[in-house]
Amino acid sequence: MKSSVIIFPGSNCDRDMDVALKKFGFKNKMVWHNDQSIPKSDLIVLPGGFSYGDYLRCGSIASKSKIIKSVIDFANSGGLVLGICNGFQILTETGLLPGILQHNKYLNFICKNVFIKVKNKNNKYFKNIKKEILELHIAHNEGNFFCNEKELKILEDNNQIAVTYCDSDGLENDENNPNGTIKNIAGIFNKSKNVLGMMPHPERMIDKYLSGEDGSLFFENLLGNLK
């Protein structure tokens, strides 16, 4: 399986993502934002970081960069596009995903492990995944997902909510909501479920000695679903 990770000025999780994808068997290529085209891929990843210094709004400048047209075309033709953290912010700014990621409710940069609950397994990302509740890492200042009520209803009606923040038993409430995001949303799909944006970083959870292995589950499962 082939993957491509797009690098923007200010991306900083691109190499972690490269390591993770290769560890689980993807043939990964790094693609610079100023390139015109993306090599043939089964998966495109927009990594975390601070593209363009988060100027204007997080992800807004990256969403107009040269390479983005190819990403949008790829997504619109059914290709898998995964945006992690800043990648999620970029996806909302391109319009591939609805809503926007706002400042965390209490204006603090949050860097910690969280539990997330898989809400929809009927897609390439989570089909067959062995656990319902994953422990992953978050590190963001703007992860407070917001959309209007009409859009929220569409998200719910189409099962577009991918993952939500919860505790280790799967309980979703305000206490387990790190950043004020509506409905504890940590990640969403587009309508056809080929585009996934989420704040938690699976690429930081791929080593049982350093972190935990729930990220490994995510990547192994994704690769298995693509074969």
């Binding site: 204007l56 709004r57 107009k64 609805p98 809503g99 926007i100 706002q102 400042h103 209490y106 917001f146």
Partner: protein, 77 residues
């Protein structure tokens, strides 16, 4: 021609920064400050002498980049 744009959060959208500023002002003895909403201000110099045309262009810029219409409104002044 210089066109000015103000981008503000829509009513009802949570503005944690505005809230923090309001609380700080309250703590500084400006106790009658009831609400602060923070926004962005742009000065855009366009090489165009026709004001209507320039403003129409800036409107496009607002819709496509300067404001995110999910949470923000813009005003061209």
């Amino acid at each position: 021609m210089k066109i000015k744009v103000i981008v503000t959060l829509k009513n009802g959208v949570l503005d944690p920064q505005g809230k923090a500023i309001q609380q700080t002002l309250n703590g500084m003895s400006f106790s009658n400050v009831e609400e602060v909403r923070q926004g962005k201000f742009f000065e855009i110099n366009v090489d165009e002498n026709n004001e209507t045309k320039a403003k129409a262009q800036v409107e496009e810029m607002c819709k496509k980049l300067l404001a995110n219409l999910v949470i923000e409104d813009y005003k061209i002044i």
